[in-house]
């Protein structure tokens, strides 16, 4: 793992990625609004993207594969957000709120 021309070691990128991931995971656990959970998921996906791009350019043999993977993930995240928002709108029409933990029509 060598340094780039800018002198920033890769560990900085990985730390930011790990922080983003932890914030996303934390948000996923404490958020009750479905939109908030969706935002947390996007944070986790972007943490992975940051990792992929950083590894791709900092490895001993730099590879394009990391950036290609990240582009696929970005595209997929957009599709996921679209479907997620559609599902949330649907649930809003049915329940008139989007608090995920209050939607419990099925219990034993």
């Amino acid at each position: 793992m060598n340094h780039s021309a800018y002198g920033i070691p890769i560990s900085w990128f990985l730390t930011v990625g790990a922080l983003l991931f932890c914030i996303g995971l934390f948000g996923m656990m404490v958020r009750r609004s479905a939109i908030g959970m969706l935002i947390s998921i996007e944070l986790m996906l972007n943490a992975a993207n940051l990792n992929l791009v950083a590894f791709g350019s900092y490895l001993r043999q730099p590879t394009i594969a990391g950036q290609v993977f990240a582009i696929f993930v970005i595209t997929l995240a957009a599709a996921e957000a679209a479907i997620g928002l559609a599902i949330i709108i649907n649930i809003y029409r049915l329940e008139l709120h989007i608090e995920a933990d209050k939607i419990t029509s099925m219990k034993l």
Partner: protein, 551 residues
């Protein structure tokens, strides 16, 4: 890039084209309701009609890949001449394939296709003629099946992630397909939120694996990358465990099972059947390919995540079976039962990882095939291990018996407007055929002898005990726990049978099953009861399929 033998994934391509046809015809029909194409080609008949050639095509692809897997081809990629297996597709520089359409993947494709065909017949009976958006429904099911087929062949992290996500995205929408039903909406929301979160965790794990193995996404390259001392770090451990979270969610393995009961209960019953069979088959194929690629270079005892998997396997069986006992809703009961069933299948998976030899013994072969490692079965000189054979046979048996059970539940649910187990009382008088069929499917799920479930469990537990003899005592423990759990599960399965046959029936009209429902139940009955009659040829065929397993 070397494209490879594209006809091996042609079933998936055919299905994508068929899904587009269904979607476009549906849109045209929706613009002019009541006349024209809508009358001539109703989607609910067009989709199974297009699906059936796909099933035949997938069967042909299994036979084709059994032939192709014996060959290699020399191709020029970049400036180097690489020898690649004839079943490798989209081979990039270094000889790493994106997809490996080996017989194992082709067989899981066949399971997904046949399962979807059955699900379509169930849907035909389940949704009435007035249900809107049928074209979208059937095309989404077909896209999801194509994704499952690609996932079964994926041998690259990018391919795995994309195919699993395509399968998931289609499933999220299908789970909340009945837009006016609160339960369906809730099922869709929960499936989406938990699914997207778990797949994000899995993706983070993949990004770590990508880094610690030196920037490779191909499973064969990752296996090679993990042999360097640097990769023995905790980072690789974290990467593998996080990736397993993503796969564990798809399988509803125990700590990631929390979504399953609500989603299974709330989703339309045909979609519940789809999620419990097709989606799980895809997840299982990906998991087996990932584990055998990531594991086999290590002695598994060095990597504690093997033990995590062993514990989760036992946990899945016990959790699923014990929580299923007090359930009052049959879809919810079958949801917990399918969590337990995945536990049985996982016994096959954890014993399958022992079936492959270490790298050192493979070195002579590596000279011939530099980057894709053909894993000859470790012990095939003196006996044939049953682990993977059991896995393949059990997934086929599971497809027939679980889809059959859900078909009966869907049929009864639409006619009585209830999924409560209490409403199955006296079903014998009201519909003898459905009651008898459901009895067969439930005792098959419990693993009672004259059924397909027994053959599958016998092979899986037997395979675990074979490996237990080779210094892996934990597998014997798992096999014993599996047998204990089969006995526990018999309690709640047979409780439904007792209600149907011996509980006093209220005076209610008899149920009339439609042609589609009778046909699908008959297909599943033939599969469930016929597998044991054809057990010899089936096992021979299954061992032929797994002997050509590439990573």
């Amino acid at each position: 890039m070397f494209i490879g033998n594209i006809k091996l994934i042609a079933p998936a391509l055919y299905l994508c084209a068929a899904a587009l046809v269904v979607l476009i015809l549906g849109v045209i029909a929706a613009r002019k309701p009541g006349k024209g194409l809508d009358y001539q080609l109703p989607t609910q008949y067009l989709a199974p009609a297009l699906m059936f050639p796909g099933v035949v095509y997938a069967l042909w692809a299994v036979l084709e890949s059994l032939i192709e897997v014996c060959y290699t081809v020399d191709v020029l990629i970049g400036y180097e001449l690489v020898r690649v297996p004839a079943v490798a597709l989209f081979v990039t520089r270094g000889g790493h394939a994106q997809l490996t359409a080996d017989p194992f993947g082709a067989l899981f494709t066949l399971v997904a296709f046949a399962g979807t065909f059955i699900v379509m017949l169930v849907s035909l009976d389940y949704f009435d003629a007035a249900q809107p958006h049928k074209a979208e429904y059937y095309s989404l099911v077909m896209f999801a099946t194509a994704a499952a087929s690609l996932a079964a062949c994926a041998s690259d992290l990018i391919a795995i992630y994309l195919s699993i996500e395509l399968l998931s995205l289609a499933s999220y929408v299908l789970a909340c397909f009945v837009k006016t039903d609160r339960r369906s909406g809730e099922a869709g929301l929960k499936y989406f939120l938990y699914g997207a979160a778990c797949s994000a965790v899995g993706l983070y794990g993949m990004s770590i694996l990508f880094g610690v193995t030196g920037g490779h996404t191909s499973l064969s390259a990752i296996a090679r990358g993990l042999t360097t001392p640097a990769a023995y770090s905790g980072a690789a451990w974290v990467g593998i465990v996080f990736t397993l979270v993503g796969f564990g969610f798809k399988l509803a393995l125990v700590p990631f099972q929390f979504w399953a009961p609500d989603v299974y209960q709330g989703a339309p019953t045909p979609i519940t059947a789809f999620l419990s069979v097709v989606s799980k088959a895809a997840g299982l194929a990906v998991l087996v390919r990932f584990l055998t690629a990531a594991v086999f270079l290590f002695p598994p005892q060095n990597f504690s995540w093997y033990w995590i998997l062993v514990v989760l396997t036992a946990g899945s069986m016990f959790f699923g079976n014990l929580v299923a006992i007090p359930q009052r809703n049959i879809k919810r009961m079958l949801a917990y039962s399918s969590i337990a069933q995945i536990g049985y299948l996982m016994i096959g998976v954890v014993s399958a990882v022992h079936a492959f030899p270490s790298l050192e013994r493979l070195v002579p072969r590596l000279w011939n095939l530099p980057n894709v490692i053909v894993r000859t079965r470790a012990a095939s000189w003196y006996y044939e291990p049953w682990d993977m054979v059991g896995l393949v046979v059990y997934i086929v048996a599971y497809m027939f018996m679980n889809l059959g059970a859900f078909a009966v539940v869907a049929g009864i649910g639409t006619r009585t407007r209830s999924d409560a187990i209490d409403d199955y009382a006296g079903l014998m008088q009201r519909s003898p055929f459905l009651a008898a069929a459901l009895t067969v499917f439930l005792i098959s799920l419990a693993g009672v002898p004259p059924t397909a479930g027994f053959v599958g469990k016998f092979l899986i537990f037997g395979g675990a005990i074979q490996h237990a003899g080779q210094n892996h005592p934990e597998l014997a423990v798992l096999a014993v726990l599996g047998i204990i759990n089969s006995i526990i599960s018999a309690y709640y399965y047979l409780n439904v049978v007792r209600l149907m046959f011996f509980a006093p029936a209220e005076d209610r009209p008899s149920l009339r099953a439609s042609l589609a429902l009778n046909a699908v139940v008959a297909i599943c009955l033939v599969g469930t009861l016929g597998l044991i009659a054809a057990a010899g040829p089936v096992v021979d065929f299954a061992s032929l399929v797994v002997s050509g397993f590439l990573d």
